[in-house]
Structures are given as C-alpha cells and as structure tokens.
Amino acid sequence: MSTSEHPSTGTDRGGRLIDARLHLLDRQILDCDGVPVATVDDIELSGIESDGGGTSSAPRIEAILTGSTLMTRIFGGRLPRSRLHRITWDDVAEIGITLRLRVRSESLDATWPERWVRDQIISRIPGGRHAPD
C-alpha cells in the first residue's frame, strides 16, 4: 500500500474529473430545448462483472437511468431495474448544474407517462388541445 497526498485536478490528463454523487446523481435532465425530462436516478456501467471476475480495463458509463423513485426514497428500498428508463450517454450534450441532452424529450422512453396523460386525459378536456391564449 502506498500513499500520495496530491489532490486530483479537475482537468486531469486532458479530461475533466467528476464524482458520481457530487456531479451526476439527482441532477436535473433537460432536453435540447431546455424542457425538464427527469432526474438522474442511477447510472449503468459497462466493464464490471460482479461474479468475482477481474476488472482489466476501466469501466465506462453507458447510460443514465431514470424512473419513478419517489416511493423508494421515502420508504427505502430500490426500484427494480425493469422500472428504470434508459437514456444512452451518446445523447448527453453537456454536464453542468443540469445535464443537457442533444435530443428532444418527445423521443425518449422516459417521458411516456407525460405523453400518455397529455394524449389520453388532458386532450379530452375542452380547450385541452391547444396552448392558452
């Protein structure tokens, strides 16, 4: 075991360093038009096997996962993987105070409940098919 006391720089070796809890988890996700999509509830990593196998290369982030985690946050536990919606990392345009995507929210599976409520409920209300004047 060896010890080094030099802090990691924020832009180390030509890249930017971020911590998962500090910079990613629970951040608001906005689409390319600035419309709120969801929050970052979990992250999918590639290259890690939990069966005791080795970890030869550094794992990478494959996707952002988001879902209805309100109840698990209040009462504990975890949402099943099948209940989380996947946004591939290729769709991420910028990481800052929020995560900004390169695509519109309409094209994402994560926003289907909002579209369903709009199409099946809101649109049946008189005046619900157009923006307020």
């Binding site: 030099h6 990691s8 500090l22 999918e44 939990s50 290729d90 990481i95």
Partner: protein
C-alpha cells in the same frame, strides 16, 4: 452493473479485512479531439473509488478543495470522512457480490478534487 450497486459497498483488502466503504466513484471525461464535430460529452471512464474508512454516505461536496463554507459544517464533514482516500481503479482486484476487493499493493491517493 449499476452505480448504486457499487456505492456504499464494503471494501476489503487482499487478506479479506474490511478497510472501509465506497463513498463515491470518480470519473474522468476524456477531452474530445478538436477535430471532432460529433459534439456531446465523451463517455466518462472510472478513475477510482473514494474509500472512506469509517463512514458510508456522501462527502457532500466538501471533497472539493475550494469549498470551506459553512466552516463548521465543512470541518465536521471532513472530520467524519478523515482517512478517506482515492484508490485507482487499476488497484481494484475484483468486485464480488456485496464487496469490492483491492490488490495487495493498492495505492491511497488524495481524495480532494481541485477545480
């Protein structure tokens, strides 16, 4: 594997002794070549795990060297996480169900993150 499968896991050394818990995961976002016109953010790769010897849970942002306020909270959080270090991912031997196991000669680097 999901990130939350790793967070708060106990960390064992090569002899099987517990040395702490995973309190965060540090990533590096590779710089895109200037000629690249695809835009977006390159897929971050894992740099290492932040290993806290005493506490599970977050560092609450006080791992950044330029964050010192409020002073009492900063002092308390840093005291709670004293002994925390960054273990490079290359020094992680393997991840098994319910624990992260380190190499025999794992390195302990500063957990601080300067901007």
């Amino acid at each position: 594997m999901l990130l939350t499968d790793l967070l708060d896991l106990p960390v064992h050394d090569h002899n099987g002794d517990r040395v702490g818990w995973v309190c965060d995961i540090r990533f590096r976002i590779p710089a895109r070549p200037a000629a690249s016109d695809s835009g977006g953010v390159a897929s971050p790769e894992v740099v290492g795990i932040l290993l806290s010897p005493r506490r599970r849970g977050s560092y609450l942002g006080f791992e950044r060297t330029d964050v010192h306020a409020p002073v009492l909270l900063a002092w308390w959080i840093r005291w709670r996480h004293r002994g925390t270090c960054l273990v490079p991912w290359s020094d992680v031997d393997h991840v098994e169900d319910g624990a992260v196991v380190l190499d025999a000669q794992y390195r302990r680097e500063s957990p601080l993150l300067s901007r």
